[in-house]
């Protein structure tokens, strides 16, 4: 059995969304079985299946955030405080 990731898209909506995963013996069987498992009540108009082993995934080493790079994690706080200070002082923004 192979594992597949299932993606559905509704007409008029922009992107495919991950609906879940499933197992099937092969791709030809996976498509109708995915329809029955994930879209039998009209949850989507378009169906994509990707075999899980075909997905390229980044490892945790690459994905972990370097805690020392706070200058790249602007949350707007500094800018907000600056603007508030200027408003209070009556200056033009």
């Amino acid at each position: 059995m192979k594992t597949y990731e299932v993606f559905l898209r509704k007409d008029g909506k922009d992107e495919f969304r991950h609906a879940g995963s499933m197992q099937a013996p092969d791709g030809e069987m996976a498509v109708p079985l995915a329809r029955e498992a994930y879209a039998r009540r009209g949850e989507g108009d378009h169906l994509w299946l990707v075999e899980r082993s075909d997905i390229l995934a980044a490892g945790p080493d690459l994905m972990s955030v370097n805690a020392s790079k706070t200058h790249r994690h602007n949350d707007g706080k500094v800018v907000a405080e600056t603007r508030k200070a200027r408003r209070t002082a009556g200056g033009a923004e």
């Binding site: 499933m22 197992q23 099937a24 069987m29 109708p32 079985l33 995915a34 498992a37």
Partner: protein, 253 residues
């Protein structure tokens, strides 16, 4: 819709339609036995979805025959049912369930196609809806049998043994049904069961050849001599189907 709004069926046409409705009901009930027992989750969902489709077809046809579908579907005497034995067989083994599913749905497809241009609009509508589901049913059954017969394996020998057992019973589906001549004369369906049965046999034999499966075609007549005869297993099924209804037959669901 009540019967007063529906064009009434002649008694022969009603008898003919009952045979198809009962086939759909009983095969749907038999397929539904597999809820929770399918070989893997996705297949469990798919097969039970097919069961629900067949029950839906049965309800649509029963609505043309009666105002009380539940009572008609469940509470008749066994002798009043007109189902074929192919639909009634228990098929408690997965190989038997698959083979029955395949042989039945190959036949069902032809029966709906013959009704697609029916003289009754409501039958045309039901046929169109059913045909949209039947393509998947046939694909589903063929996918399995093609794979299970593709290599010398226990699966292949079990499927072949099952075909040898189920095929003679399946032929009974095509025995002329009471009221069929009336239904044909009224244009409710465009094809006689004998004609569809010949096409079905050709399709079944072509599939078997494609899978490299050699099965002697049954030469004796069907075991079921008339559609008023129930298979030996029907009593238990009928009892189970009625189990909730009989607790309170007048309950308003």
């Amino acid at each position: 819709m009540t019967s007063s709004q529906k064009p009434r069926l002649s008694s022969g046409a009603a008898e003919w339609l009952t045979s198809f409705a009962d086939d759909e009901h009983i095969v749907g009930a038999r397929h539904a036995n597999w809820i929770g027992l399918g070989p893997f989750l996705e297949e469990d969902l798919a097969f039970c979805s097919i069961a629900q489709d067949e029950l839906g077809h049965a309800v649509a046809l029963y609505e043309l025959l009666t105002d009380d579908v539940d009572k008609f579907a469940l509470m008749r005497e066994p002798s009043a049912y007109r189902s074929c034995w192919l639909a009634e067989l228990p098929c408690l083994r997965w190989d038997d369930a698959l083979v029955r599913h395949w042989l039945y749905d190959e036949a069902e497809l032809l029966r709906w196609q013959a009704m697609a241009d029916s003289s009754r609009q409501d039958l045309c509508d039901i046929a169109a809806r059913s045909l949209s589901e039947e393509a998947f049913h046939r694909q589903h059954s063929r996918m399995y049998l093609e794979r299970l017969t593709s290599t010398a394996s226990e699966g292949r020998s079990r499927i072949i043994a099952s075909i040898e057992q189920v095929l003679p019973i399946a032929l009974g589906l095509w025995e002329p049904v009471a009221g069929e001549q009336e239904a044909l004369a009224q244009g409710l369906t465009s094809r006689a069961s004998s004609e569809m049965g010949a096409e079905w046999a050709t399709g079944v034999q072509a599939a078997l050849a494609a899978w490299g499966v050699e099965v002697a075609w049954p030469s004796v007549g069907p075991a079921q001599r008339a559609r008023s005869e129930r298979h030996a297993s029907f009593g238990e099924l009928h009892h189970d189907l009625q189990a909730v209804m009989v607790i309170d037959p007048d309950a308003d669901w």
